[in-house]
Structure formats: C-alpha cells, structure tokens
Amino acid sequence: MTQRWTATGLSQDLPKAVAMAGHWQGHDLAVWRSASGRLQAWNDRCPHRGMRLSHGFVRGETLACIYHGWVYGADGGCKHIPAHPALTPPATIRVAAFACVEQDGVIWVAPAETVGAPVALRGLQPLRSISLTCDVVAVRLAEPALSGDDVLRGLVQIGGQACEVCLLVQHGASGLTLHALCAVGADRIAASRWLEDLRRRAERKGAA
C-alpha cells in the first residue's frame, strides 16, 4: 500500500526542536522533530482542550501544548500536566500517531498501520513547498511537460536549460500543495522562480 504515503513537507523546513502543521487526506497533523532529530506525526489536537499541537513547542524529546502546557512524550502519551505537577497522567491520555518517514529530503505521512516505503526520488534535491488555489489539471495545462497525478514529473526549461523536476501533490482543506524537487546541481533560485511562474500560470488556467 505504498500509494497511501503522502508528502506533507520538506525536511529542510523542519529543523530540530520545531513543530509544524501537516495533513494526510483531510486529517490535520502536528509534525515535529525532537531535539535529537526524531521525527513524528500526530493527530493535531491536544486531548485536553483540542488546541492544535502544531502550535506547541518542543523541549528535548517532548512536545508541549501551547495552551496549558500538557507535555507528550515520544510514544504520544501525556507525561506531565503543569497544573497538577504531582499527578502521573493516566495512560489513556494519548495522542494518536501516524506513520512518518523521511526520504530524499521529503517528509511522508500515512496511517499508523501502513507498510512499505514511499516512492524513491533519485537524483533530485528538495526545492520548495508551495500552495495553489487551482487543481492538478490546471498545473498540467500550464506545463504540458509534466505528467502524473500524485507525482508530477517532467523535463522543463529553467533558465534556458532542460531540468528534471518532480512535484509531489498534497490535497488539503485549503487547496493544493506541491512539494517541489529539482535535479541535483540545478540552480535552486532559478528553479524557485520557475515554480512561482508555474503557479501564476496554473492559477490563471484554473480560474479560466
């Protein structure tokens, strides 16, 4: 079931001790990296009051909710409740975890029981993640050299040179996100400007 893996961000955008929002097919996730570098993707909801855990903060190997500071350990279990410092939180206070792996500089998420690995992306380097207000069809119309549905690939012209690019498609509540990679060694500033131009053209196609 490798097709269930969804790219939710690029490794370069999630340094150690940082949390960010991610999602898998409509499920909001808190994706975070511990101080030692351990990556996790959890349901983005604190079991206490429902605050987004992606707004929280990382201390060491734990993620703390920004609202009342409840602290969750590596297994998703609540380790500490600041308002009740003497209490050992019951094991039932636990955040649901998703499977989360990092490969080729891309952060992939899938339901916890998922087996297999995401698609391998050899010879490519991470570029940028961008959001669009159009659909994938409009992206392909704007750049006919790209083909695919969940993974758009093709050889495009960047700065007067042919360059392989790969756009990993993520559908979210607020629209389309593309996690872009380009050939290793390509000029990333030129590739980033190509990507901005592609978005403008795709959104015009999408609005037409």
């Binding site: 961000g9 370069q12 929002a21 940028r128 959001s131 996100t177």
Partner: protein, 216 residues
C-alpha cells in the same frame, strides 16, 4: 527621554517597542485608548499627529508619525548595524522591505483589525492581498535560504526584518494562516530567538529556549 504614544495591541506600536528593546533604548510609554476610546482620532491627538494614527514617537522637537521612520531613527541613534549593509544594493533592499511593510499593514493588518477590533471593510480582499504579500515574502526568504541566509538583507537582522515581522507574526489574528509559508515561519522563529526579544499579545517568545519552570 524618547516618548512613544502607544497601544498594546497595535502591530505598528509593537514594531517600535521591539526595536527599542533589541537596541536597549528606554522609551517613555504614553498609552492611547485606541479601542474602544478612539482617542487617536480626538482633536487633542490631532495636534500631535493630524493623520490620527499610532504610533507617534516624540524626541524633543522631533515628532515622527511613520513607524518605518521611527525604526531608522532608533537605529541611527543606538545601533547602526541594524540599518543593514550600506552598499547600494543592500541599502535599496532595506528600503524595499520598509515600503513592503506598509503593504503588510494594509492587508494582513487590516484583516486583523477587522477580526479583532470590528473594523468594517472587504475582509476577503484584505486576506487575499495578505496572501499575495506573503507569497512574495516567502519567495524572497526562500532565495535567501538557498544562498545560506536567514535575514531579509545581509548577514544580520536589520530594520527590514523588524518592519515586516509584526503583521506577519499576527496574521492568524486576521484569519490568514502561515501554514503554507515555511520560510516565513522559520524567519519569524529566528526573530523570536533574538536576544532581548519582547512579546506582545499574540506573539509569544520561544518557550523552548528557556528551561521548563520548576514547580516548588
């Protein structure tokens, strides 16, 4: 002493409080009842600033009513490194971001005033303009990262960063999420990690930079 006519929830006033804190400049604060009192629109206040806007910075006979001019003034007085590099390209880029901060105030800032302080206007247009500005900022900061940089101009934080930071960091108050802007998020973290950084309601410091408080 330099006096700041101030409102705690104003992004532009915070811009000056933050700059002053980073520069270790002490300000005398004069709280203005912006909401609900609308004291900034009073006849008395018009004598100080006919435009009826906050903040206002007064130092002797100097009265400044534009926040970007206040940043320049404080940096010239107390920390010229914060003016950015003085080569022609960098100096122009600093001016670009000072002007750009006005676009952030006119879009993200207005969306926030609409949602928080009941300003009337086209909220959808303000949010759309806010996203358009954030896309530009994201593209610029991504290019800076590809070149190994962190800040908008040069190798150190400058008034360009401080000018743009408040309305970006407060964007969610106006219903504009930063989820789609990873480089912008990392840049706001870098600013919040600065020594002497100060908070305002809606912009908290990085709790993880300090040890967890001990409970007695």
């Amino acid at each position: 002493m330099i006096r700041l006519y101030d409102y705690v929830l104003s992004a532009s006033c915070y811009k000056i409080r933050l700059m002053a804190a980073l520069l270790c400049v002490k300000l005398e604060h004069e709280a203005v009842d912006f909401h609900p009192g609308r004291a900034h629109k009073s006849a008395a206040f018009a004598q100080l600033n006919p435009a009826g806007t906050l903040p206002v910075l007064v130092d002797g006979d100097l009265i400044l009513t534009e926040s970007t001019a206040m940043l320049v003034y404080l940096a010239q007085l107390s920390g010229r490194d914060w003016l950015g590099p003085c080569d022609p390209k960098s100096a122009a880029q600093v001016q670009h971001w000072l002007a750009f901060s006005g676009r952030l105030a006119a879009s993200l800032g207005m969306a926030r005033l609409h949602d928080m302080l009941l300003y009337e206007g086209d909220i959808d247009a303000w949010r759309a303009q806010g996203h358009a500005a954030l896309r530009e900022l994201e593209a610029a900061l991504s290019e800076r990262r590809f070149a190994g940089g962190v800040w908008l101009v040069g190798d150190a934080p400058s008034i360009a960063d401080i000018a743009c930071f408040p309305n970006v960091a407060l964007s969610q108050d106006g219903g504009v999420s930063l989820d789609a802007y990873p480089s912008v998020r990392l840049w706001t973290r870098a600013i919040r990690a600065l020594d002497r950084f100060v908070e305002m309601p809606g912009i908290h410091r990085l709790h993880e930079l300090r040890p967890a408080p001990e409970v007695a």
